[in-house]
C-alpha cells in the first residue's frame, strides 16, 4: 500500500516538473516563432492553456498532501488541542465530501463527452483534457478523508489517555 502511495506521489511530482518545463519551452518557442519568423503553431496556445489547468489542479492535489491549501486561521488559536483535533475531523470530512461530489459529477460530465465523441482543438478528444478535474478532485477528496481519520484517531487516543489519567 505504501509503495502505491509513494508511486502516486512521485508521479504527481514528475508530472508537475514535466508540465512546467514544457510550458516554459513551448511558450518561449511560440514567441520566437512569431517575432522572428512571423509564424506560429495554432495548437500551441490552446495546449498551453490546458497545461496551466493541469498544473493548477495537480499542484492543488500536492498541496492537499502537504496541508498547504489557503485557509483562514482565526478561531483555532483560541481552542484547546482536543477541540482542534475534533474540529479537524469534522472539517476534513466536510472537505472530503465536497471534493468527492465534485469529482463524481465531473466524471459524469467527462463520460458524456467521451460517449458523444466531442473533440477539442486539432481533433484531440475533449475527455482526455478534461479528465484531470475528476481525477484531481477525487485524489484531494481521498486525501482529506484519510486526514480526517487520522485526526479522529488522534482525538480518540488523547481522549482515552486523559480519561485514564483522570481516573
Amino acid at each position: 500500500m505504501s509503495s502505491v502511495i509513494k508511486t502516486l506521489h512521485r508521479l504527481e511530482d514528475s508530472l508537475l516538473v514535466l508540465l512546467l518545463g514544457s510550458l516554459v519551452v513551448m511558450a518561449s518557442t511560440q514567441i520566437i516563432l512569431r517575432n522572428l519568423f512571423d509564424t506560429g503553431l495554432v495548437w500551441v496556445d490552446p495546449l498551453l492553456r490546458v497545461i496551466v489547468l493541469w498544473l493548477g489542479l495537480l499542484g492543488a492535489t500536492v498541496a492537499a498532501r502537504e496541508h498547504k491549501h489557503i485557509q483562514i486561521d482565526v478561531l483555532t488559536r483560541l481552542l484547546s488541542q482536543n477541540t482542534v483535533l475534533l474540529l479537524q475531523f469534522v472539517i476534513d470530512q466536510f472537505s472530503a465530501w465536497v471534493c468527492l461530489v465534485i469529482a463524481w459529477h465531473g466524471a459524469r460530465w467527462v463520460q458524456l463527452d467521451y460517449e458523444d465523441g466531442i473533440t477539442s482543438f486539432i481533433g484531440v478528444p475533449a475527455w482526455i483534457l478534461e479528465i484531470i478535474i475528476p481525477i484531481s478532485f477525487g485524489i484531494i477528496g481521498l486525501r482529506f478523508f484519510i486526514q480526517s481519520i487520522y485526526a479522529g484517531w488522534h482525538f480518540q487516543k488523547r481522549h482515552n489517555t486523559q480519561a485514564a489519567s483522570d481516573s
Binding site: D13, L16, V17, L20, G21, L23, V24, V25, A27, S28, Q30, I31, N35, D45, P46, L48, R49, V50, V52, L53, L55, G56, L57, L58, G59, A60, T61, V62, A63, A64, E66, K68, H69, I70, Q71, I72, D73, V74, L75, T76, L87, Q88, I91, F94, S95, V98, C99, V101, I102, H105, G106, R108, W109, V110, L129, E130, I133, P134
Partner: protein, 425 residues
C-alpha cells in the same frame, strides 16, 4: 440568505480550505436551483479558456528561482551602493530592495524570510532602534504589491476581465497604474525613516567604484524589469508571453550561467512553486463557478441597488470601501479576497463612477495593509517566526508604519489621477 451562509462562514473561519468553502457555496446555490452539479467541473474547465492565466505559473516559477538564488544579496548591494549615502540610508535601502523583491516574488512572505535575515542585523548595527527595525521589515514584506509583475496585480486583471465590462481592464494598464501609488508609499516610508532620531550621521559616502561593482555583479538581473516592461509596452509581447520570457531568462541565468541553482535542485523548486500555484488556481477555478451562480442569482445587481439606495454619494462609498477592505485584508489572504470580492464590488464601484483600474489599485493598496494588521495579518506571524519575537511586540512595532501607509492608501483612494494618469497616456 439561508442558514447555510453563516454555517459556511464559520467553517471558513475554522480553517476549512477556502476553495472547499467556495465550492460548497456554489454547489448549494446550483443545487437549490436544480442545476446539474457537473456545472462545477464545466466552470473549472474554463481555467483553460483564459490565456492570461498562463502568466501565473510562469511568473511564480521565476520568482521562486530568484528567491532561491543569491539575487537578494545582489539587489541589496546595488541599493546600498546607490542609496546608502542618503540620511537614513540603510532604511531607505531596505524599503526599495523589499519592494523590488516583492514585486517579483509575490507577497508570499518570502521577502521577510530572504531579505529580513540580511537587513535586520545590518539595521541594528547602524544604530536604528529595535522597534523601528522590526516595524520596517514587517511592513516592507508586502511593499511592492503595486509594481509589475506582482501576482495580485495580474490576478485582479484576470478576475476583472471575466466580468465582460464595457471597458475591459488590461493587465498592462494595471502595471502602469500601480507605479505612482507604489512610489508614493515608498517615498512616505523613506521620509519617515529619515526623520528617525540620531540617524542622520549614520550613512556612508557614495563610492562610484563600489556602485559600479555592485551593478556589474547584478548585470544579469538588471535587464529583467526592462525586459518585462519594455517588452509589454514596446508591443513585442503580451503579459503572458512576458511571463514566459522572464521564466526562461531567469532559468538560464540562475541555473546555467551563474549556477547558483543546481540541476538537482531545479525539480524541487519547480514542484514547490507549482504547489503555491495549485493553491491559487483551484480557488480561481471554483470561484468561476460561485461567481457564475452569484450572477445567475442576480446578487451583485441586488447589492448594487441596495447600496445605491443607502449610500448616496461617491465619497461615502469610498470611505466604506476603505473600511471594508481593511477588515477583509485582516481576515483573508489577498488571492482569495480578489477572486471572491472583486466580482461583487466591481459592478457596485462602477456605479459610483470609479474606474475599474483605479478600483484595482485601491483594492490592492488596502490589502497590502492587511498583511500586517493585527490580529491575523500573515506577515506578522512570518516576522515573528523569522526574528524570533513575540507577535505582540510586532503589533506595537508596526503601528507607525500602519498609520503612514494608511495615509498613503487614503491619498490613493481619493486622488484617482495618481493611478490613472499613466495608463491614460
Amino acid at each position: 440568505m439561508s442558514l447555510t451562509t453563516p454555517l459556511l462562514l464559520i467553517l471558513a473561519l475554522l480553517r476549512t480550505p477556502l476553495f472547499v468553502v467556495i465550492a460548497a457555496s456554489a454547489m448549494l446555490g446550483f443545487y437549490s436551483e436544480e442545476v446539474d452539479l457537473s456545472v462545477i467541473s464545466i466552470e473549472i474547465y474554463r481555467l483553460a479558456d483564459m490565456s492570461v492565466l498562463v502568466a501565473i505559473p510562469l511568473f511564480t516559477f521565476a520568482g521562486y528561482l530568484l528567491g532561491e538564488s543569491q539575487a537578494s544579496t545582489r539587489l541589496l548591494n546595488i541599493s546600498n551602493s546607490l542609496l546608502g549615502w542618503m540620511p537614513g540610508g540603510l532604511a531607505i535601502v531596505a524599503i526599495f530592495a523589499c519592494a523590488m523583491f516583492t514585486a517579483f516574488t509575490g507577497a508570499s512572505g518570502i521577502t521577510i524570510i530572504a531579505l529580513g535575515a540580511l537587513l535586520y542585523p545590518a539595521l541594528k548595527q547602524s544604530g536604528y532602534n529595535e522597534k523601528f527595525n522590526l516595524g520596517l521589515l514587517t511592513s516592507s514584506g508586502s511593499l511592492g504589491l503595486l509594481f509589475a509583475p506582482s501576482l495580485p496585480l495580474i490576478l485582479y486583471g484576470v478576475v476583472a476581465q471575466q466580468m465582460s465590462l464595457e471597458e475591459p481592464v488590461g493587465i498592462d494598464q494595471l502595471f502602469l497604474a500601480g507605479i505612482f501609488p507604489g512610489l508614493l508609499m515608498l517615498v512616505m516610508l523613506a521620509i519617515y525613516s529619515m526623520m528617525q532620531p540620531g540617524i542622520s550621521s549614520q550613512h556612508e559616502k557614495f563610492d562610484r567604484r563600489v556602485a559600479l561593482a555592485a551593478l556589474l555583479a547584478a548585470k544579469w538581473e538588471i535587464p529583467l524589469p526592462i525586459l518585462i516592461l519594455g517588452g509589454i509596452y514596446g508591443g513585442y509581447f503580451a503579459v503572458s508571453e512576458a511571463a514566459a520570457v522572464t521564466a526562461l531568462y531567469v532559468l538560464i541565468v540562475e541555473v546555467f550561467i551563474l549556477r547558483e541553482i543546481t540541476l538537482k535542485n531545479l525539480p524541487v523548486i519547480m514542484r514547490d512553486s507549482m504547489v503555491l500555484v495549485g493553491g491559487i488556481m483551484i480557488i480561481i477555478g471554483v470561484s468561476l463557478a460561485s461567481t457564475n451562480y452569484l450572477i445567475d442569482a442576480e446578487i451583485p445587481t441586488r447589492l448594487f441597488e441596495w447600496t445605491q439606495q443607502h449610500i448616496g454619494d461617491r465619497l461615502t462609498f469610498l470611505i466604506l470601501l476603505n473600511l471594508f477592505l481593511l477588515v477583509l485584508g485582516m481576515m483573508l489572504d489577498i488571492f482569495s479576497a480578489l477572486v471572491i470580492f472583486v466580482p461583487i464590488i466591481l459592478p457596485i464601484a462602477i456605479g459610483y463612477d470609479i474606474h475599474p483600474v483605479h478600483l484595482g489599485i485601491i483594492f490592492l493598496a488596502n490589502m497590502q495593509l492587511g498583511y500586517f494588521t493585527p490580529p491575523v495579518g500573515m506577515n506578522l506571524f512570518i516576522a515573528s517566526y523569522r526574528f524570533d519575537k513575540p507577535v505582540m511586540t510586532l503589533y506595537k512595532a508596526t503601528i507607525p508604519f500602519f498609520l503612514i501607509l494608511l495615509v498613503a492608501v487614503l491619498i490613493i483612494t481619493y486622488w484617482p489621477a495618481l493611478s490613472l494618469s499613466l495608463p491614460a497616456l
